[in-house]
């Protein structure tokens, strides 16, 4: 029994890690193709059909690149920083369910690595420690631009984390639970975006800021800081930062879909549970498209405006949203 349980966890973890890494490869392809369409270009279309082998070509190129370590860098932390960035990105979706429980060989399996009753808090915890990789990468490179980029990233992520945490409170209050699967199951009929339009918007904005994506990609502003915190990294170490960023993109789309867009629920899931992962996949792809769309449309924020926007607009709005939600739930008696 214990061995069976161990095997189950092992297989589920393997599925998540593989899905995330393969997902990363094809999100880069997806982003480049869609971005090219926005800018009336063709985009990568040479390697394989429709450029589908482009990620493989990129990976081979990056593996064969020379790895440089700056002479005055703090070697240990310089090497560890990409790993510290990768791990939170890979484990954060461990609490998100991909589908309803499925019966296989007379045994019921839950479709998530670990369905803990504190799923939302787990997500917050992992987000809060995912700053370290970037901070340490910038510091250990011993480079002015890298340090500046890391400082900006740290300040930005701490500021937007508060509003992000508050945007989680709405779904928690409505579902009456901190477990992600409880929150998803409470949305079987009505998605929480209907009750929490403001919360969903705040979640999306802060989540984009949290993973340093455009228009909040201040830490890696090319014009001012060359490339920000990863300016000294090359080869596979750079690839790890790149990978972490895209895996985080998938993660925030999965979490957003689960908290506000009904997760794996859709027409016919109750009868055919195998449809669940498919619906979740479609929702994640749609959200990823929105992220690329935002990148193609909006220019970058100025740094002081970015901080002011986080503290003076998003944070009070998120607080107000929590208060109104709590009052309404108490009055209606949820």
């Amino acid at each position: 029994m214990t061995f069976g349980l161990f095997l189950e966890w092992f297989i589920k973890s393997l599925v998540v890690i593989l899905a995330m890494t393969i997902g990363f490869a094809y999100v880069t392809w997806f982003e480049r193709r869609v971005l090219a369409k926005f800018q009336v270009r063709i985009g990568p279309n040479r390697a394989g059909k429709q450029g589908l082998l482009q990620p493989v070509a990129d990976a081979i190129k990056l593996i064969f690149k020379e790895e440089l370590v700056p002479a005055n860098a703090d070697k240990l932390i310089f090497v560890l920083a990409p790993v510290i960035t990768m791990i939170p990105a890979l484990i954060i979706t461990g609490v998100v369910p991909w589908g309803p429980p499925i019966t296989l060989f007379g045994k019921t399996f839950t479709l998530s690595v670990s369905d803990i009753n504190l799923g939302v808090l787990f997500i917050l915890t992992v987000t809060s420690i995912s700053i370290y990789g970037i901070t340490l990468a910038g510091w250990s490179s011993n480079n002015k631009y890298a340090t500046l980029g890391a400082l900006r990233a740290t300040a930005q992520m701490i500021s937007y984390e508060l509003a992000l945490a508050l945007s989680f409170v709405g779904p928690i209050l409505i579902a009456g639970s901190m477990g992600i699967s409880d929150i998803v199951n409470a949305q079987q009929h009505v998605w929480f975006i209907v009750y929490q339009p403001l919360g969903a918007m705040i979640y999306m904005i802060t989540a984009v800021a949290e993973i340093n994506r455009s228009p909040f990609d201040m830490p890696e502003a090319e014009q001012e800081l060359t490339a920000g915190y990863h300016v000294e990294y090359s080869g596979m170490k750079f690839a790890l930062f790149f990978m972490a960023e895209y895996i985080k993109m998938i993660a925030i789309c999965m979490i957003g879909a689960s908290l506000f867009l009904g997760g794996f629920w859709g027409p016919g899931v109750a009868a055919y549970p195998w449809l669940g992962p498919l619906y979740l996949f479609i929702k994640v792809v749609l959200l990823l498209f929105v992220l690329v769309w935002i990148r193609a449309t909006l220019p970058r924020f100025r740094y002081d405006r970015l901080m002011a926007f986080g503290w003076k607009i998003l944070f009070p709005l998120a607080l107000l949203n929590v208060m109104v939600t709590a009052v309404v739930i108490t009055l209606v008696g949820g």
Partner: protein
């Protein structure tokens, strides 16, 4: 039971080693990193004791917020390498005397208390569920909870006033 004991011993070694590293390290960034490892180990201790909420809150608040700000300040001021010259010579003997006193106190407490039968408190059950934890915080412990919030508010207002003053001076 033996597995739990082994886990406890391994965690204890990591906690003590990281605490020692924290004070021995000559580089402030490494000290901060050792402290983060220490916080994470303490969080795992809470997990082992059946209080996942406290464990996750510990990581979020201490490792995720406070230590990030520590690192931020160290990096911004470029204060990785502290001055090698000791300015306060009297500190070292005083520290030895005080830590010796604490050690003696701890040993004394351990010897006198070890005979007393320790019962697991029923509080651990409440700590595993966020709902019961919240209810007990807002009913049974509402006064300490409110007082803590006032203390934090005072600190926040103090920070605002301090920066406001320096900003006015800069404007003149």
């Amino acid at each position: 039971m033996t597995l739990n004991l082994l886990l406890f011993l391994a965690l204890a070694v990591i906690a003590i080693a990281s605490a020692a590293g924290l004070i021995m390290s000559r580089n402030t960034v490494y000290s901060a990193l050792f402290l983060i490892i220490n916080f994470l180990t303490v969080a795992v201790f809470y997990l082992v004791m059946g209080a996942p909420f406290i464990a996750l809150a510990q990581i979020t608040v201490y490792a995720g917020a406070i230590m990030v700000l520590f690192l931020f300040v160290i990096m911004m001021l470029g204060a990785e390498k502290p001055n090698e010259i000791e300015r306060m010579k009297w500190q070292r003997p005083l520290a030895i005397v005080l830590s010796g006193a604490i050690l003696l106190e701890g040993v004394y407490a351990l010897i006198t208390r070890v005979a007393v039968n320790v019962t697991t408190s029923p509080a651990t059950e409440a700590l595993s569920d966020p709902k019961t934890l919240g209810i007990s915080l807002y009913t049974k412990y509402s006064l300490p909870f409110e007082i803590t919030s006032v203390i934090l508010l005072v600190a926040a207002i103090g920070a605002v006033i301090l920066t406001n003053k320096s900003r006015k001076e800069a404007g003149k």
